[in-house]
């Protein structure tokens, strides 16, 4: 059972398909990095998942049950129990935190807690403030908060009600390096200590790279690719580029000799070999089998280049 599953999710604004047949799966416990250009549809997808925007077509399934809780709930302890129960399991911080500037941080939290009918609201609000490191600023009016504090308060609002899934849209926007690190550590802590599944979209790829367990790439409203962090590391890390006179034969030989490595045939006839590979060992195998080597180079691919390539490929494909 997925924490989040979208099926054929589509949103049309004024005849333009902003999100088109979007199918994404997020496993419970994931920190899911959602990557895409500006305007690719990330925020719209997140808004549809948390219920702020109604999909034109398709559905959102949360923990195996339709997000509005209308479908029969599957058996199991973690299954949603009633109408709107699925939505209650999501906390979201999308675009910018929705805060009431005239109220204190604590009262912002209380206003949300009362609206959701959260039991023991004052204690939950204090706890949320403590969790995001704003315990000392609870009585201060939000109007005087820095951007970082507002983001943290937004996160505290998202955490109210003990959600199982957090949707965070550009949580590092406008934060200085120290605040960015604090926010990243907080997200990881929430995931590891409380078991909260996190979907985080960001343009700061090196921040995602440090915490994400799975990636999803969106281009022009379509999901281009989903992969694990290990896959990305393998594809972005050092790789060998080998071009031989007989590509098919070389591929078969190398796959047999190095079953743990990943091989990809490139359009120019070369082989891209990624994974923990020893260049000398690969060269030895090719020499032993009398393969004519035309090119043998070691590549280093930047994660940014990798995602840009994926997004461009996705966009041109779409």
């Amino acid at each position: 059972m997925y924490a989040i599953e979208t099926r054929g999710l589509t949103k049309v604004y004024g005849g333009r398909r902003v999100v088109d047949d979007f199918a994404m799966t997020v496993q419970p416990g994931d920190i899911y990095g959602f990557v895409g250009r500006n305007g690719a549809g990330k925020s719209t997808v997140m808004k549809m998942i948390c219920g702020d925007v109604a999909p034109t077509a398709g559905e959102v399934v949360l923990f195996g049950c339709e997000a509005d809780g209308t479908a029969p709930a599957p058996t199991g302890a973690s299954a949603p129990r009633g109408k709107g129960e699925g939505a209650r399991r999501i906390g979201a911080l999308i675009e910018e935190p929705g805060l009431l500037p005239g109220l204190s941080a604590y009262r912002n939290l209380m206003a949300k807690a009362l609206a959701w009918g959260i039991v023991d609201a004052p204690a939950r609000c204090e706890e949320a403030l403590r969790l995001v490191g704003l315990a000392g600023a609870g009585s201060r009016k939000v109007r005087g908060f820095s951007l970082g504090m507002k983001q943290r308060l937004g996160l505290a609002l998202a955490l109210l009600g003990n959600p199982d899934v957090l949707l965070l849209d550009e949580p590092f926007n406008g934060l200085d390096p120290e605040a960015t690190r604090a926010m990243r550590n907080l997200i990881v802590r929430l995931n590891q200590s409380l078991g909260i599944t996190v979907v985080v979209s960001s343009h700061v790829l090196d921040q995602l790279d440090r915490m994400v367990t799975r990636y999803g790439v969106i281009a022009e409203g379509r999901l281009v690719r989903q992969m694990s962090a290990a896959d990305v590391a393998a594809e972005c890390g050092s790789s060998l580029r080998v071009r031989t006179a007989d590509t098919a034969c070389a591929l078969a030989l190398l796959q047999e000799a190095f079953p743990a490595l990943t091989f990809r045939a490139e359009p120019d006839g070369s082989l891209a070999i990624s994974g923990d590979c020893d260049a000398a060992a690969v060269a030895q195998v090719l020499r032993d089998k009398d393969q004519v080597v035309l090119e043998f180079t070691q590549d280093h691919r930047d994660i940014e280049d990798y995602f840009v390539e994926l997004m461009e490929g996705g966009a041109s494909h779409v």
Binding site: A87, A111, K112
Partner: protein, 350 residues
């Protein structure tokens, strides 16, 4: 829905807006009471009578056409006092008391204010400080002038628009298949806000005018009071609901405030009413619409003594009482707002 209402009440109580609006309401009521106390003071009446007599006698001696405007102003200002003084002192004004020209003539007869004793002014003051009934005061001062309607609408506009301007709405529970709870909760909130301002306005005006020495000729019966307050609340809530729908459609506080100032005050209603009356000469059906305007109910019907709400409405089918007519109009606009919000607006994304 009730959780949302609880949350909104929390925001209102802990925010500034409610208290600023309450202070404005209290300030206006106190100012009104102080002014009424001042103009009904026996000394003020005496001074005003002397001043009016001097001005009008001078005008009468040389009836200059160029001073016609000043004459009319003096006449208008003296009109109310004159009637009261006439009642008190028995000064004759002929048989044309309701005619403005005759009133002015009567003022001319009022040549010697020294002929009036202090007791006359005391008596006049006492009469001026005797209000027909509490509901008459509430209706005349709070409801019919459009002040309370505008205040409720402004508060509703600012409060509801802040949901979208601050994006706090994203923190609120939203049913994916429609925002029934959200809009339903907000309409309930409008009713609560209208009730609050009506209750506070009535209580404050009662306290302020009592403290200023005003008394009531008669007290309303419980039924009359309830009917008046219920109908006033309905009309205020109707204006509030219409403001809410406009804010939800436009997502703009400015649009809501503009509506409050132009429509909820009754200005637009007066214009439409006049237009309908004029067009009614040609198309009688249009004139029949005028009593059914929300502004007519608020600015005219609720300004009358509460007992008149039980009288048959003028020109209404089946001779229904005025109160029923007001209730129908108020309920219609609340229902129309609710239908629009719960059918069309609930599909809008936040």
């Amino acid at each position: 829905m009730f959780n949302l209402l609880k949350s909104d009440m929390y925001r209102l109580v802990h925010g500034k807006m409610l208290w600023v609006a309450t202070a404005v309401l209290a300030g206006c009521i106190v100012l009104c009471a102080v002014m009424m106390h001042w103009v009904s003071d026996p000394q003020f009446l005496c001074d005003a009578a002397q001043m009016s007599a001097t001005v009008t006698v001078g005008d009468a001696a040389e009836p200059d056409a160029a001073d016609e405007a000043a004459r009319e102003m003096a006449e208008a200002a003296a009109g109310e006092r004159e009637r009261a003084l006439d009642d008190a002192s028995g000064i004759s004004e002929g048989d044309g008391a309701s005619d403005s020209g005759a009133s002015f003539e009567a003022l001319l007869e009022f040549e010697d204010p020294s002929s009036l004793s202090a007791a006359d002014f005391e008596e006049t003051s006492r009469e001026m400080r005797t209000i027909e009934a509490p509901t008459f005061m509430f209706g005349d001062m709070l409801v019919s002038g459009g002040f309370l309607g505008a205040l409720v609408s402004v508060v509703v506009a600012l409060l509801l628009a802040s949901d979208f301007s601050t994006k706090f709405v994203r923190n609120l529970p939203m049913d994916r298949r429609g925002r029934v709870a959200y809009y339903g909760g907000r309409l309930l909130l409008v009713a609560v806000v209208a009730l609050y301002f009506l209750a506070v306005g009535c209580a404050l005006s009662l306290a302020a005018f009592t403290a200023a020495g005003f008394t009531f000729a008669a007290l309303d019966g419980a039924a009359e009071l309830l009917v008046f307050l219920g109908l006033s609340w309905l009309c205020l809530a109707a204006y509030g609901c219409l403001t809410a729908v406009l804010v939800w459609l436009t997502r703009s506080a400015q649009a809501g405030v503009a509506f409050a100032l132009v429509v909820a005050t009754g200005i637009a209603g007066t214009v439409v009413g006049s237009l309908l009356q004029n067009l009614g000469a040609a198309v009688p059906a249009l004139a029949a619409v005028q009593p059914w305007l929300l502004s007519t109910c608020m600015n005219h019907d609720l300004a009358l003594p509460a007992t008149s709400l039980l009288l048959p409405a003028e020109g209404a089918v089946w001779a229904i009482p005025v109160g029923v007519q007001v209730a129908l109009v108020g309920a219609f606009w609340i229902a129309a707002s609710a239908v629009l919000a719960l059918s069309v607006l609930r599909r809008r994304d936040v």
